[in-house]
Every structure is written in structure tokens, then in C-alpha cells.
Subunit: 346 residues, 2 copies
């Protein structure tokens, strides 16, 4: 892998259309069961409807729900059926939407998935309440499983607690004078790794896998999540566009402590010193300063460090996956998804 942000043919995700065929109807049912106001906010947030509730005309790209795909493939990896794991797939996607809705309120981000964020359309109150509703719906999805619900609930609750810790650390980083790379990785492990780890582990749990295989799946997902976050941080500065649908450069403008910046700020050379001076200002960076900062982060080695970390985490993820003893075919599919998640820039 030469360039994390280099163009990669988008061949993996369309082949996951069968995941959508299973998950989307179940997700629509779960969202449809929410109170009307929360269902409307969630439907808009997911890109199903416009702000006024009208269905979105264009067909969304298929196979983009990576967490449900990880859950269903993880179940297959340990010899289970995708259908058994469906409640887990629904739960992790609902939790994902809960985090996005609340994160955008918390960060004040006005764009999400290339559209105005839900809070900016429906108001903060509506976004908070819709997020709460989605979190409860996720809990209901796993607590309704006929058997294995106790293990599934425990898996989800553990991940949620780590998620909150990661989000808390992310917010704390904004005020922190200095953040180390290990601190960053701990935050990313909570904020992004915990839910992907849960997505994979739930597939194993709901397929009835033993603790060792579930542990392998959890670690695979967790490391993959961290690798994904490292790569997303790189895209947030140098990508042509960004998976999250947020504008490129906004992280720098907000002086966010993403991994390339954290690594660069810890450097010793002239570029690192200049960057520290620029980041010491309490104000958002102006457009020209963003250009300068991007250059400084690269010269101070921040980009290389982040790309290297993404590769390292990805390698660890695939090593952990082997502990789950997946069938060769499913291993290859999970590996392809993992590569695509860390490499692609569309």
C-alpha cells in the first residue's frame, strides 16, 4: 500500500449489496417504530428522506453500511448464519447513527454525509432526542434476541461505555495543551474502535462462537476501527473528499488534534515549532493559515506517521482476525473490506 489516500477502485462495497438486502428493511422497521418526530429526524439523517419527510429521489449507493457488513460477515466467519446476526447488525448501525447525531451537536458540525447536519435542520433538541431514541432502539434490538441476548447486551453495553469515554477524551483534547500519540490511539480506540469491535464481536456472539473466536473478532474490529480513524484523519487534511461528508480542511481550521497534527506537534524540527506556534492561537485558522498548517504537518512528518500507524493497526487487525479461525472465503472478504476502509478516498 503506497498511499493511504490514493484512488482505489470502488469494487468491494457494491458486492455487499446482500448486506443491504438484509439490513435495510430491518433498519427501516426499527426507525419506523420510533415516535414520529424521532423517526423523521433519523430518516433524514440516514439519507432516506428530505427535511420535509419526502423520500430522497436518488438511490443511495449500496453496501455502504460497513458496521452491519462486519457483523454479518463475522457471523459467517465462525460458521453462523447472517440472519442470526441481523439484530446485532441493526444495533451497531443504530448506535453509529446515535453517535453521529450527538457528535454533530457536541462539535457544532454543520455538515454530515454531504448534507446539513440534522441539528442544523431540526434543531438541537430534536437531534438530541432522536439520538437518545436510536440508542434505546439499539438496546432493544439486542435485548430482543431469543437466546444469547445477555451476552449480546453485555457486548453492546461494554462498547457503549468505551464509546462515551472516547468521545469524552476527544472533547477534552480540544482544551489539552498537548496530546501524545498513545493518548490519541486510546481515544480512537474508544471513539471508533469500540463500536467496530462490537460489530464484529456481536456477529460471533449471535452465531454462538466461543470466547476465543469472539475475542479475535472483537480485536479485529477494534484495530480496524483505529486504522480507519487514522486514515480518515489523513483524508480530513489531504483527501479530495471525505467519507464523513465533512469539508476537507475543517479539522485544521478548527485546530482539531487529529493524528497527523498530534504526531507533527510532537516533532522536533522547524516545521513542528512553526506548527505549534500556529496552533497556540485560540482562534479558528483562516483559509490561508489552513494551507500553511497542512504544509507544516506534512513537513513535520505528521502525514507519514499517521499513514504508518494506519498500516500498523491494519496489520494487527488482520492478525487478530486469524485468531477467530474464519473460513478462507470469509477471511478474504473481511480483508478486502479492511483494505478498502483504510485505503479508499471516495
Amino acid at each position: 500500500m503506497s498511499q493511504l489516500t490514493g484512488p482505489v477502485p470502488d469494487t468491494v462495497f457494491p458486492r455487499l449489496g446482500w448486506v443491504d438486502d438484509l439490513v435495510v428493511p430491518a433498519l427501516r422497521e426499527a426507525v419506523g417504530a420510533l415516535p414520529a418526530a424521532e423517526a423523521r429526524v433519523a430518516g433524514y439523517h440516514r439519507g432516506w428522506t428530505e427535511a420535509d419527510g419526502a423520500p430522497v429521489e436518488s438511490t443511495p449507493r449500496r453496501g455502504k453500511a460497513v458496521r452491519p457488513a462486519l457483523t454479518l460477515l463475522s457471523a459467517l466467519a465462525v460458521g453462523g448464519s447472517a440472519r442470526d446476526a441481523l439484530p446485532g447488525a441493526v444495533a451497531v448501525e443504530l448506535v453509529h447513527d446515535f453517535t453521529l447525531l450527538h457528535d454533530d451537536v457536541i462539535d457544532g458540525d454543520a455538515l454530515r454525509r454531504h448534507r446539513p447536519a440534522a441539528w442544523s435542520v431540526f434543531g438541537t433538541s430534536a437531534a438530541v432526542l432522536a439520538g437518545d431514541a436510536l440508542l434505546v432502539a439499539a438496546m432493544r434490538a439486542v435485548s430482543d434476541v431469543p437466546c444469547r441476548s445477555a451476552a449480546a447486551v453485555a457486548e453492546l453495553v461494554g462498547a457503549l461505555m468505551e464509546l462515551v469515554e472516547g468521545q469524552s477524551a476527544d472533547v477534552a483534547f480540544e482544551e489539552a495543551p498537548a496530546v501524545s500519540v498513545p493518548q490519541y490511539l486510546g481515544m480512537a480506540g474508544g471513539k471508533t474502535g469500540s463500536l467496530m469491535g462490537c460489530a464484529c464481536a456481536l456477529g460471533g456472539v449471535l452465531a454462538g462462537a466461543d470466547g476465543e473466536r469472539v475475542g479475535g473478532l472483537r480485536e479485529f474490529g477494534r484495530r480496524l476501527g483505529v486504522a480507519f480513524q487514522c486514515a480518515d484523519d489523513v483524508l480530513g487534511i489531504w483527501g479530495r473528499s471525505r467519507r464523513s461528508g465533512k469539508p476537507v480542511g475543517s479539522d485544521l481550521a478548527a485546530r482539531k488534534k487529529s493524528l497527523p497534527v498530534v504526531a507533527a506537534l510532537a516533532g522536533e524540527g522547524a516545521a513542528a515549532r512553526e506548527l505549534r506556534a500556529l496552533y497556540a492561537s485560540p482562534h479558528p485558522l483562516a483559509e490561508q493559515e489552513v494551507v500553511v498548517a497542512r504544509e507544516l504537518v506534512e513537513r513535520a512528518g505528521g502525514r507519514e506517521a499517521a499513514e504508518e500507524e494506519a498500516r500498523r493497526q491494519l496489520a494487527e487487525a488482520l492478525r487478530a482476525l486469524s485468531y477467530a479461525r474464519p473460513s478462507a472465503d470469509v477471511y478474504r472478504q473481511l480483508q478486502e473490506i479492511a483494505w478498502a476502509m483504510v485505503r479508499r478516498d471516495a
Copy 2:
């Protein structure tokens, strides 16, 4: 019971000090296990600490955590031990705090428990995230129970979904041109009844009671919650002070559709007509208009209707309690709490 808001000797709650002795250390442990920032917001919100984290000097009044008391007494009512029900008591109190933190964000209320609301001290983001953390901690409390965790989780998840529905309805009422008394009761059943019903049901579930007894406890708590909400709405207009720690008259100033207002607006006489005209204004009511509105609500029969509804719900609650076949001693204790919750005004 002649007057819902008449002075009642505050003799019941101090006798529940043993509830605090069990619950407060467990609550402190649960809150202490949160990330530091969320623990600080939650500690302030509970009245344990000042905004800067310093311990609050004055000793808070004991025995005020009514939901945990209901849980522990419900366990005793069906022959179980209070200690078995402790995780349920902790969970419902954590959920209660979650709802208060998010409600104050959603409603923009600046006062809570006679102090500045957490969001106004720490910011909206911190209050949202602390609420999320408390909700997850509540789920953890019940999912960690050695056995019976599946039933306990299902009980809590069901209540949470109703809670979200009630909160959603409450928000929708603000824009609704007219709200009927049955609609109000449905909202109050979700917003207040569901968690009190859950508090009681969890006591039964964790004590291993059968479905009929758990159902009786749930209905008792649910009706009691609605009765409490009706009485609190009366206090919100005519009380000397108010349990929630919000200023008296603020409901009217915000043209909130509390039960006395809902009942009065549905009336036919001159007072109801005048009140409808006053409430048709899109602006908050001025101080003099609040005085006029209070008078109109009373003359249109809104106060009497709300007090009557509270009494009716309380009677239904106590009837449902008998289905749980509690011991005579515990029945008397629960009855005293119920009376005190609906009658007292301090």
C-alpha cells in the same frame, strides 16, 4: 385529601434513610466509574459537588430518591431482599438523571433542583454527553446482574422507549394547537409513569417475583408516576415552591400545556375562552399575564380537574399494588410514599 398542595408533615422521607445508605454508595460508585468530565457534570447535577468539583458543604436532605426507594420496597413487597434489587435502584436513578440532563437541554430550562442547570454551567455538549454516559451506566447496572439480567434489561429498555415517546409527545405539545386530557395522560404515562413503573417492576423482577406480581408493581408505579405528574403540574402553577426546583409560574410563562391548562383550555365558559385567547399569543407571557392566566385556569376548572385526576390515578395505583400481594407492612410504606408524593408541596 382536601388539597393536593396543602402542607403535609414531611415525615415519610426521612424514614427512608436506609434507602440512601444502600443506594448512595452504589450511585457514587457508578458515577465515579464514568469518564472524569462526565463524572464531574453528573456529580454537580446530583448536588454532590459545586461546579468546580468541590464537595457541597451542606448535607442534602435524606431519603429524597423516590425511584430507588420504590425499587427496594417493591423487592421487599414480594418477599425479596433490598440488596438483590440494588442494581435496579441504581439504574432507575441514573436514567432519571439522564432524562433531567437532556430535558433541560431540550427545554432550555436554566434551573434544576434550585441551582443553575448543568448545561448552563458546563455547556450543552457536556450535558448531552454526561446524559449519554448516565444512560449507558444504567444499562450496565442491570446487565451486570448475575442472573435475571435478561428480564431486567428488557424491563428497562421497554421503559426507556416509552420515556422517549413521552418526551417526544411533550415537545410536540408545544406546537400542537390543542391537546386533550387523554393525550396529556398518554404523554405523562410515558414521560413520568414509565420510569416509576420500571422502578417498581425491577424490584419485583430482581426479587424473582412472577409475572402477575411484577405486573401489579409496574402498574402501581406507572399510575403513581402519572398522579405525581398531575400534582407537580398543580404545584407548577399554585405551589409555594416546587419539587423540580424550577420557579413557580414558569410553566405558565412558557405557555406549557400542563394538565390544569389542558383541562382549562378544553372548557366552555368565559374563563376558558379568555385563556385560549391568551395562550394563542406566540410570545412568553409577561408577569402580569401569568397572574391573569393562573386565575383563568382556576376559574375554568383546570386546577380542580388536575387535582381530581391525581386522586383518581393514585387510587388506581394503590388498587394495582394490591395485585402484587405485598405484605401489609410494605403496602403501608408504599402507600405512605404514594400519598406524600401526590400531596406534599415542599
